[in-house]
């Protein structure tokens, strides 16, 4: 067993060069530590490039090893991608949020990981680099291969950062979840929305719910049903109905029945839309609170 703390990106990539299946990138380790630990771990959580949260060329750039606690406290993210702040505040507990990272939330590939759901709704792109130094960008939703299984190979590839187009004037985003308790509980369901309003009408939107598939899933049918409609209660109720009909959900003896989860997806979708629209309206009137 070896545990190396990489000081910079180059040394982390160097460690991946041997393409050894027993070598793996780790950040917070809060999930991995409870599973079988690989023999050689390369800890990337101290690499500055991977922890920065900044705005560059009008894009929000969030290091993959930024913790949930730091993202939740970031005024930069709050003003431009509020759904992500709301989601990060719901992950685990304060102790877990102080260690667990956004990149880990995605790569661990749990279908309803809160931060990942918000990232997908916000249209976040993941920036990855492999051991031979080849960079690529991928939509976050495409980083899932099956249930609890990431499409990213942690033995050869490293998730470096997320890129998000900030919500501009007339745009807003929000995240909602429901769990058996207010803290330290996995969500029974969650939903996130990003939308743009023009003259009170929904000009564009992205709507995501989970767990309704292996990855946070766009609700394409619901998006189509309410696009162009006025931002108001009638539209939110239509969204709730359409979302609940649209999703394929599984029930679980431990958590809740499929019927209850379907109901929750509808309610949470409408709640997220309502909150996102409120933010969009506020941003239109010029104040960014």
């Amino acid at each position: 067993m070896s545990y190396r703390i990489a000081k910079n990106l180059d040394s982390a990539l160097e460690a991946l060069k041997e393409k050894d299946p027993a070598t793996r990138i780790v950040a917070g380790a809060t999930d991995l530590f409870l599973q079988e630990m690989p023999a050689r771990l390369v800890d990337v959580s101290s690499i500055e490039e991977l922890t920065a949260i900044e705005e560059i060329d009008n894009r929000l750039v969030i290091g993959a090893a930024a913790t949930h606690a730091r993202a939740a406290a970031s005024e930069l993210i709050k003003g431009r991608a509020a759904a992500l702040v709301e989601a990060c505040l719901q992950v685990g507990s304060p102790q877990v949020r102080n260690i667990g990272t956004l990149g880990g939330n995605v790569v661990n590939a749990a279908p309803a990981a809160d931060a990942a759901v918000a990232l997908v709704a916000l249209g976040a792109k993941a920036v990855l680099v492999d051991s031979s130094g080849v960079w690529r960008e991928e939509a976050v939703a495409r980083l899932y291969s099956s249930y609890n299984c990431s499409a990213l190979d942690g033995c050869t590839e490293l998730l470096v950062r997320f890129l998000i187009e900030p919500c501009g004037q007339g745009e807003g985003s929000a995240f909602r979840r429901f769990a058996a308790r207010k803290a330290l509980a996995l969500p029974l369901a969650n939903a996130a929305a990003r939308l743009k309003l023009e003259n009170g009408m929904i000009a564009s939107l992205s709507l995501v719910a989970a767990p309704v598939g292996p990855a946070p899933t766009r609700l394409i049918g619901t998006e189509a049903a309410i696009l162009g409609k006025p931002a108001g209660e009638e539209t939110w109720l239509l969204a709730a109905e359409t979302a609940a009909e649209e999703v394929e959900v599984r029930g679980s003896l431990l958590r809740c029945s499929a019927a209850y989860r379907r109901h929750l997806v509808g309610i949470l979708t409408a709640d997220a839309l309502r909150a996102a629209a409120r933010r969009a309206a506020v941003s239109q009137s010029g104040s960014l609170t």
Partner: protein, 158 residues
């Protein structure tokens, strides 16, 4: 089990230890340093009994691979009563009757310490949030919240 040299600051003192880097910080503290004030409850990050500070932030020591603390600073409950006395947070827990069976108490105190380091004047909601990762099965939360509020007052009036 391969061992590696792990060097870190523990309760203000530099320490070095050969240990399996994949064992938990919790076991390292309890078994190698005999710091048994940090408790093992669930062992999977659900209960907060093992809370310590890592670079001043509250973390579950059961979820931290020992290798991760290399070069960093760890503070345990033992740091609070170094000179035989008690810390204002501990004092407040006693005064408010915030201890029942006591098993969650070290974790609660460390979460309170992390909060008060970051925010010396928390409101009741911020206190609830700060201990939301600590379970108390004796259901003494009200007294614990009152104790942390009292502790903040004690520290601020010093």
């Amino acid at each position: 089990m391969e061992k590696e040299l792990i060097k870190f600051m523990l309760n203000g003192e530099p320490v070095e230890v050969y240990n399996d880097p994949a064992s938990s910080l919790l076991h390292l503290l309890r078994e190698k340093f005999s710091l048994t004030g940090t408790k093992e409850g669930c062992g999977e990050g659900e209960c907060g009994a093992c809370t310590v500070l890592l670079d001043d932030l509250a973390v579950n020591s059961c979820l931290i691979p020992a290798g991760k603390v290399n070069g960093r600073s760890v503070e345990t409950i033992e740091a609070l009563s170094k000179d035989g006395g008690v810390d204002p947070i501990q004092e407040a827990f006693v005064e408010k009757g915030a201890v029942q069976c006591g098993f969650c108490t070290p974790g609660m105190v460390m979460s309170a310490r992390a909060l008060l380091k970051q925010n010396p004047d928390p409101d009741p909601e911020e206190i609830k949030m700060a201990i939301s990762g600590n379970l108390c099965r004796c259901t003494g939360y009200k007294q614990i919240e009152a104790a942390i509020l009292l502790a903040a007052g004690k520290i601020n009036s010093k």
